[in-house]
Amino acid sequence: MTGRDSTDSRDTGFNDGELDHRLASVWSTPPGLWGALSSVDHKIIGRRYISTAFVFLALGGLLALLMRLQLAQPEARFIGPDRYNQIFTVHGTNMMFLFAVPVMQAMAVYLVPLMVGTRNIAFPRLNAFSYWMYLAGGLLLWIAFVLDTGPDIGWFAYVPLSGPQYAAGKRADIWAQMITFTEVSALAVAVEIVVTVFKQRAPGMSLDRIPLFVWSMLVTSFLVILAMPAIMIASTSLILDRLVETHLFNPAEGGDVLLWQHLFWFFGHPEVYIIFLPAVGMVSTIVATFTRRPVFGYLAMVMALIATGVLAFGLWVHHMFVAGLPRLGESFFTASSMAIAVPAGLQIFCWLATMWAGKPIFKTPFLFVIGFMVTFVVGGLTGVMVASVPFDTQVHDTYFVVAHFHYVLVGGAVFPLLGAIYYWFPKLTGRMMSETVGRWVFGLIFAGFNLTFFPMHILGLRGMPRRVYTYQPEMPWSALNLFISLSASILALGFLLFFIDVIRSARSGAAASSNPWGASTLEWATSSPPPPYNFARLPVIGSLEALSDQSTALPVATGLRVDRRELLVSSVVEAIPEARESSAGDSIWPLWAALATTATLIWSIFTPWAVVWGSIPVAIALIGWFWPKGVPEDES
């Protein structure tokens, strides 16, 4: 089946303008609602994904403000315990499952295909499906919350509090089913990314020429693939316990409540690195661009990513130090938790070395990276503190831990993310964000964040437990709490300004050139925003710094068809071209499949038979999805 068929048409026969025209007609998403609903362009879906995740960030932030309002004074009666418990549960669940993980994957959905030089993500329809599933899961949680049936069991939903006996109603089921939604979508995206990175890299991009952000997403995707099944088993078991009276977590019938904790944290700990590692990749990218040199120690950085990924599976018990497990075993987990400081430190030191040797340019994205260094190291060090068993028995489940994880989540992941938005905004929208406003945003968020969360360490050491809707006036906590609540408004102001800047810039920001920062990774080799087919001709890579030599012409490959969506499959290690492969066209079926799955999953909160009946429309949608339509993409 090799060789040149006489009927197809290749890019070699056209001049640039004609080629763009041809490719556009094959790759473009048709206009209108139908086109939007059936699009499988990774850029359109990626932008959608990112925007949705930021909407969830804003909503979760509103909940945080409500909590701070309630906690500003002792024994406040502004929010009752029932609502407060829903609020912190939805805040945590939303931030972890609907914001942090998806937003990182969304950035990858947009950027990875561009950075490896291909025309679309692997399994584009699956990508569309995963977005719809994610959206449905988010709507499920938030609609439930608005209707006052939001989950109220904490973001890790410990049994038996979430079990059939102590969580009446459907709240806990909604939590567990929301997990299923985000799980399916996260797993799907992880598979797409792994395959895109393995098989769709531009010719010549051997493993040692993969950009660090792409490496970080590759490791992250493996973490997703290996960690998410644990929560899948856990949440399914919880639903079964609640719906059909299994006893997996019921100690009275041979089940075990700590089993839940083991399963949850076997997923939950890798989860935090699923959030953190992409941020590491963003930091590396931004550091390289704004110090005008490659990141120091490429190999060491890649090894650190992999080491973190491997170690991540050996630490889960550090969340259970006071659950009453054998002390000797716990000491092992102290050691492994501390060991993760080594790859983390290695990365910090490599970035420092890069800054040392480079010429820093203090643009907004780089400011966020500096803010990241300052706050993440605090959060990492408090992580090392709580990794010590005796230390943790004092501060576990107090505001000290709340401070730790916001330092690593916000300082360690959200700061780089905001930097990344400023950095890649031109590529996402074709427009620049405002540098002046950006500095204000950074200043407000950085100051607001530290003023809000640093005092929480002290509160924790003074004995204030987390997840309390109020506290007694006689406890020595009131003044700090008031201070924290006031500081939170500075933080909120910073985020507000950020959102305003995003919306304003997207509409009327200065137009961006294809490579406004003078960066060296492939996404900057195409226009801002990229055309539907990303690259008119696929780039050929000869070094780690794909665009470092701006003076010469970009080497490209030719010979792909222009009468169907075609991209290049290359070998895993060396990225040697192996085949020209078609890429799926737009389709409405992923949406139908997602709707059918959504209906099934929500219905199954009420009766197990939903799974049986629901599988029929799901199967029909899947058949519609995969059944060939006789279009050129279906041929070989």
């Binding site: 009752g80 315990p81 029932d82 418990n85 410990y158 038996p160 509090l161 006996q165 102590y166 100690p251 009275a252 409540v257 700590l258 120091f296 120690g297 006071v322 659950a323 009453g324 002390r327 716990e330 000491s331 501390m338 060991a339 080594v342 430190g345 290695l346 030191f349 490599c350 420092l352 070395a353 800054m355 040392w356 040797a357 010429k359 820093p360 500096i370 260094m373 300052v374 060090l381 408090t382 090392v384 503190m385 010590s388 068993v389 005796p390 230390f391 943790d392 028995t393 004092q394 576990h396 489940d397 107090t398 050491l461 003074r462 004995g463 437990p465 987390r466 997840r467 309390v468 007694q472």
Partner: protein, 306 residues
Amino acid sequence: LDPHGAPAIHMEHLIIGIVAICTVIWVVVMVMLGVALLRGPRAAADTAKSEAWLAMTVVAAVAATVIIIAGLTIASFYTTRDIGVPKSDALTITVRGQQWWWQVFYAGADATPGFQTANEIHIPIGTDVHLRLESADVIHSFWVPSLAGKQDLVPGRSNSMLLRAEKPGVYRGQCAEFCGLQHSHMAIMVVAEAPADYDRWAASQRGDATMPADPDAAAGRGAFLAKPCAACHTIRGTAANGTTGPDLTHIGSRLTIAAGLAETTRGSLAAWIADPQTLKPGNNMPMVPLTSAELQNISAYMESLK
């Protein structure tokens, strides 16, 4: 943290040590960051030499990291040993977590019967006390910061911890594991006293409830037994033997009511009995309709149960 017990003191030392070390690390990293960013114009030459020098520095820093974390791991291992589970002959008290209060059992020995109390533990100072931790419903966590670290109360399991106070005093603790609606109002008081005081207290707790002398209180006793109160609460020496709520035999002697919600006074008792759901929304005690006279009498009775 205001440590007054051996385990808490060991921890305090460790905590101060770790925090100090980490603060130093942070300062060093920040200085490096500042210098890296702000140092003057870079010499373009001798890049090869400076790359090698940078590599050396990074390796040295990683090596330092390894050494420090090894040290921290060992330190916390030894501290863990020091706060370990007490010897078996120590005084043993069983604490059962309930949504949202603490049930406490003092075991009897030979001729002396055991007794039950709630939301308050008395211990003799200078002695190791062994706590057996259990739960009646969901997971709770026992934590009195000044005396020791925390330990969960897990349904279906029994955990142990060592409690020890060096100085007399009242140490407040609070449930640390989110356990539902009133997790915020689930405090416990640990009263540490001289051994003689402790023995006196234990002896009086062991006894049945006294017949109130005061007529109001006596009327309250009648009302208590006639109303649904007795279905949920036990008062030893009376017919009341419910087990849903705390044992009230010596409620008047306790420092607080409703797991630290308020000090035990006749007024707070009355307020609580009149409307528990407003004071502690969602708790498992319903409002029992009473006339104001009944309410007064019952509060007086409760207060008299020393």
